[in-house]
Structures are given as C-alpha cells and as structure tokens.
Subunit: 383 residues, 2 copies
DNA sequence: AATGTTTCCGCAAACGATTCCGATAGGTTT
DNA sequence: AAACCTATCGGAATCGTTTGCGGAAACATT
C-alpha cells in the first residue's frame, strides 16, 4: 500500500479504484483520496521562453508593472522602466503574440483568398500585399480557392477561425452567391475585394480598367482594319468578365459593327477552351480577322496553334489581350496587350484594408481603380 | 460632491486628485477612495462570439464539461455530450484558435520564407506547400526575404514571434551565415530547407537534381557538337549555384574540354547581368557556340538580344537552361531545359516538415531529392 | 502641520480554452 | 451491508498579457 499524501502513513490506506489509468487510494484516517505520481516520466522540459512573469520575479515587481514598462505606458517610473527593459533584453524576452492577441482581440494578421497562387497576376498582387502589410506590421495568411466555390467557403471559415483582422478576396470563377462573405461583413469584419469583385456586397473594391482596356484593345483592332473581331471572354459569372465583354460590345457599337454571336466564346481558363474556340472560328464560312482574348494565356495558346497552321499574324489574324507579364514581349510576334499592374493592385488593396482595420468605426468606404496601359506590339500592327 | 461608493452618502466625501482623467474622491468615514463612472460612454458592444462559457451557462454545466464534450474526451456522458453539441451548433460556436493555441502551445501554423513570390518557381513551391498543409489542417504564413539577408532575419523573427510550429526556408542569395536559423533550431523548432539549402546546418533538405541537371544539359550540348560552352552561373554564395557549376565542370572534364574562365560569368539574377555577360562573350576572339544558363530567365533575355543581332540559334549559338515553366515551350526557338517540378518540391517539403512537427521527439532526419527531366527542344538541336 | 495631489505600483480580473485533481452518486462486489 | 469501483462532473489552475481599480507614499499646497 502507498503512503497517504497527508499523514504520510501507510496504515488506514486502501485502494479506491482507478483514475485515468493510475491506481487510486483512500486514507480513512485523513478522509482523503489520492493517486501516486509516476516519477521518471519523461519530464520533457520545453525550452522555456522568458515571459513577463520571469522578468517580474527577477526584479521583485508585479507582472503588470513589467507590462506597462514594455508597452511604454505613462504610469511608470523612468528608473524602474529602464531596469525592466534591461532585464528584458538580458533574458531575451519576446512577447507571446498569441497571448497578446487573445487579450487585445486583434491578431495583426490579414487573410487573403485568391483563386490560384501560380497565376502570375495573383503572385504579383500578393507581392504588393505583402509589402504593404509587412510595413504596417501585419502578417499575411494566404489561401487558395482553386477556383471552386466550396473551397472558397472553407477558406473564409478557416481565416475567420484564425481571427484575422481583415480579409482580402478575389472570388473563384464559380462563385455567384456571397453569403459566406456577407455573414462576416455583418459582424463587422473589414473586407476588401480586388480584381474579381462583386457588386452584391457593400465593400471597398480595387478594380482595374476592365471596360476601358477592352474598349481600347478592340478599337485598336478596328483601327487596324479588322472587321470581324472574335472575343475569347471569361467565365460568365464573373463580374469582371461581364465588364470586359461590355467594353468589347461598346467598341463595336461605336464603330457600327454588329455583334456576331458566332464570334463570342466564353472560356473557362482551360487550355482546351482555346483550341475549341479557335477551331470553331476557323471553320466559319467567314472567319475572324482579329481575336481579342480577355486572358493573355488564351492568346498565347492560340498563337502557337495558328503558327503551326501557317496562318500569318497579324496579316490574316491579329491578336490582342489583357496581360501582366513580360512574356508578351518575348513571343513571336510580340503580343499587343492592355498591360495590368498586379503589384499596384495588391498595394492598394492592402493599404485600403489596413486603413479600414485601424479606423474601424469611422471608416468611410471608398473604392479605387488601378490604371492599365495599352501597349501596342506586332501581333496587331497590320500597317 | 459625489456619493460615496460604500455608504452612498455625500458627507465626509472630499476630492482626492485625478486618476486617469477622472475626478477621484475619498470618503473619510469609510476610508475608501473612488471615482465616478462616466455613463453614456459609447458601450460599443462587440458582436460577441459564443464561447465555451456561454454554452456552459446555457446548460448549467461547467466549462470543463463543455470542453470535454467538444473534444470528444472519454469521461463524459453520452447524453450530456449530445446536449452540448446541440447547443453548440445552435449558438454557432466556433472555437477560438488563439485561446487553444495559447493553451496547447501549438498554433497549427507553419511559416515559409522565400526570396520572391513573383518568381514562378517559388509560386509553384508555395502551391505545393499550401496543398499539403491545408490537407493536414495547417495554415501557412508566407514571408519574402526579397533576396536580402537582413530581411530574411527579420522574417525569421516575425515568424517565431507568431509561434509557428515549423519553418520552411529557401535562403536569400545574400545569406552566407546561418545563426538566425541555428538559434531556433537549437530550441527545437522543426525546420526544413528546400531549393536553396545550406550544408552548415543539420536540417532535412529538399533538393533537386542540380548536379545531374547541369551535367546532362552540358553533355547534351557537347553531343550536339559544341566546343566552347559558356555558363551563366548563379550567385556564388549559394550552395545550389556551386552544385550546378560542378555539374558543368564535370561534364566538360568527362569530355576532355578545358574550362575557360572567360566563359564563366556569375549572375545576380538581374537583367543587366545577361546583357553584360553576352556582350563580353560575343566580343571574345573565340566566342562560345553554346550557352548554359542556370536560370532560364537569363536564357530568354539573351535569346531576345541575340535575335536582334541576327545570330542564328542554335546553329551559331545553342541554348540550354534550368526551367520550370511553359514559357520555354513558347519561345522561338523553343528552349531546351532541365525541367523542374516546383509543386513537388513544395509538397515534399511541407509533408516532411509536418511529419517532423507531429513526431517531434522521435523524428529521424532525412532529406529528399525531387527529380527533374531533360527536355530537348529546338534551341539546342543542331542536327 | 494639515490637507489636497500625484506618482507609481500591486492586485486581480479579464481573454477563451484545456486539464489536473478531487468529489460525488450510484453500481458491484464480497 | 460494508467495502470497493466506476462514470461523470465541477472547481481551479494554467497558458502569457493587458488593464481597471485601489492604495500608499511622496510631493505640493495652504
């Protein structure tokens, strides 16, 4: 029998069942239950990070005093403050951000949801976001929706569970309902949309010159003498696709060209789409003499195919597209694009969001447009 | 005068200075100090997220019971457990990850440090990391070192302050001292290197076929009849650059070709470097007939320039390089590359790290190599 | 000297969840 | 029926920081 934990005697002690795997005992004399500690259990001493309490003990003051000293609060004596800072330095104190966040109710972290990090446009946006966030002392957690609505919802939940202070989002191509965003917007979480925005929600948005870009590109083709201009449009659900499509129709209308439904194809950002569309167009009795792709990747895929067929660019078919990469310049022929500035989009989005986070109560909503630039190259220069 | 907070009388009360902006009083009779509350202060009720305590109160049980129920612990009655789960669902309870992390001492977050997110290779790696991490229930925080040692150090500190459970890192091109890593490695933080690894530290590493890739590319050039092969090598400090350079020399040596120092140039991943090196080589009395660039971007830049000068590729000068992108296929002529698989690198790195995190104590170190693939295209096919 | 003011610091309660310990009430065994 | 067990739950400490409140000593004012 074991020794009682109170009287340290073994008499009057009897077994009393098991508790969490350990033998339990009862001392009748002391009326006390106890289990025996299993010694030798690997103590596994974690390398203890110095805390505010360590500093306090070290100096014989209260933790609150240390906290005040470290946070440069007013009510503290200069001398003690310096003492504390000195010890804090010596003990290599690093505040525990988790504890701080829990207490303050803010994590100094922002969440970003993008469809796909491998697309250069989004990588550029991320770089811009990172830059601004890091300068403002914010961490960035990135999630990819992989272009599916379901994953996007899970992303939102995960980020909110991590208690991010704000959210930047560019929707997946599937997303047409926005309840998962609205839910948290109503709770007061700052949210900013960029690129693939939505009009259904009342959030600040960073958009680009989607209408103007389309319009300029198409008008440029018309000026080069194109009469039948095909469009490889984006996924129909996306607002950004719709806007770009409107730029296309507006330019045609301005120049008195009727829209031919045969020349309109809605892509899904897949490579197969390019070839399907191209084949359909080339087999028309009246094939296009100019192709406008909303996404530059489609243009490249088509151009590769067209060169194989010995069709001349731009003489027989001219090409233009939206773009953000140096690759457009390296192609043969080089591609005329409406050039985008993803880094700037990221910067603006992040600073807008952080502004919103900091001045939460009295933040006046506003959206911003990041300008693009028409760069004319050989793929469209007939003259 | 104000009413005493104890006797609620106004007699015996006198002013006693100011405390944090509020008037302070003293009741002589009760020997008590007090200040008066400023009512009407904007209460600013935060939208309260339901906690474990809310559920407990709602059911008249202890928070500990709720915790046990939610975590599916053994010592809980099935009936009460179901009750609790039901209420938790009704009240839309979401656990506070901060509180959990603080208590458990783990954040379920891993940190990643890369030189630059805009480089497609790293974007690909990130995608792989994300995928694996997300499946394992881990969040990912990404930092960019922007290729400077100083920023890399700051990144490490920031991530450690955020108490990440582990760290994935590919070093900046400046980094040649590793104290900032060693420090935390010694504290027991799981760390895995990838791509730009270092031999100075005893960490698991994910590397690629840097030697074999170089060797194969250069040998391929030799087989195509090249006699004078120039190399655009990487930053000298990086181990990966050294390894790739060794592959180059080994191939030359095997085929009895002497190394000509004039044909060796160490790039800094800047565009200017390409042009400088190219000019130097072309102005040699004996210019190269083959160019091997460690980084495909250099190859592209050089090819653009060379085409302007009407030098024929591959007839006069052949090109090969390391690559990871579809762009190599779209160039004219298409570029022969040793193709890399960044996504796989990311996947392996992340799963290795998470493995390390989970089985911390008894984790046996091991490194891994992700294989590449020689893809021969027109830029080097002389025959 | 008596009173009014400040300064500076400690105490303790948050933040939200987990977990060790102990305590019952009821069931089982002798 | 006494002794023994078990299942189930509550209480309190803990993780590391912040902060409202109160007290004592030092300072300033009559």
């Amino acid at each position: 029998m074991s020794n009682c934990s109170k009287c340290h005697n073994t008499e009057h002690v009897s077994k009393a069942g098991f508790l969490r795997g350990k033998q339990r005992y009862y001392c009748k004399q002391c009326d006390v239950h106890f289990t025996v500690e299993i010694v030798g259990e690997k103590a596994s001493r974690k390398p203890h990070q110095t805390t505010i309490i360590d500093i306090a003990k070290h100096l014989g003051v209260a933790p609150s005093t240390v906290s005040r000293a470290l946070n440069n609060k007013a009510e503290i004596n200069l001398a003690t403050r310096q003492e504390i800072l000195k010890v804090a330095y010596e003990l290599d104190y690093k505040p525990n951000l988790l504890a701080q966040s829990l207490n303050r109710g803010e994590t100094h972290t922002i969440g970003v949801i993008i469809p796909n990090i491998e697309r250069p446009f989004f990588a550029g946006v991320l770089a811009g976001i990172q830059q601004v966030a890091s300068n403002a002392g914010y961490q960035v957690i990135i999630c990819q929706s992989n272009e599916t609505h379901q994953t996007e919802i899970l992303n939102v939940q995960a980020l909110m569970a991590s208690r991010v202070d704000g959210l930047l989002i560019s929707h997946s191509k599937e997303t047409s309902s926005f309840e998962h965003i609205k839910l948290h917007l109503n709770k007061g979480v700052p949210i900013v949309h960029f690129d693939r925005v939505c009009n259904e929600l009342d959030t600040p948005k960073i958009i680009q010159e989607d209408f103007k870009g389309s319009f300029d590109l198409v008008e440029h083709l018309i000026e080069q003498g194109c009469k039948r201009i095909a469009i490889m449009a984006g996924p129909e659900r996306l607002l950004i696709s719709q806007t770009r499509f409107e730029g296309y129709t507006a330019a045609l209308k301005k120049h008195g060209i009727e829209i031919d439904e045969d020349l309109v194809y809605h892509s899904n950002f897949k490579k197969e789409d390019s070839l399907v569309a191209l084949n359909r167009w080339l087999n028309l009795p009246n094939p296009p003499d100019g192709i406008f792709t909303v996404h530059y990747a489609n243009a490249i895929e088509m151009m590769v195919e067209i060169k194989k067929r010995n069709i001349k660019i731009p003489e027989e078919i001219a090409f233009v597209g939206f773009g953000d990469e140096l690759i457009a310049e390296l192609l043969e022929p080089s591609l005329t694009v409406f050039h985008l500035f993803p880094y700037q989009v990221g910067e603006t989005a992040a600073s807008l969001l952080i502004d919103n986070i900091i001045h939460k109560e009295n933040f006046t909503q506003y959206s911003k447009m990041v300008k693009g630039e028409l760069i004319i190259r050989n793929s469209s220069l007939k003259k």
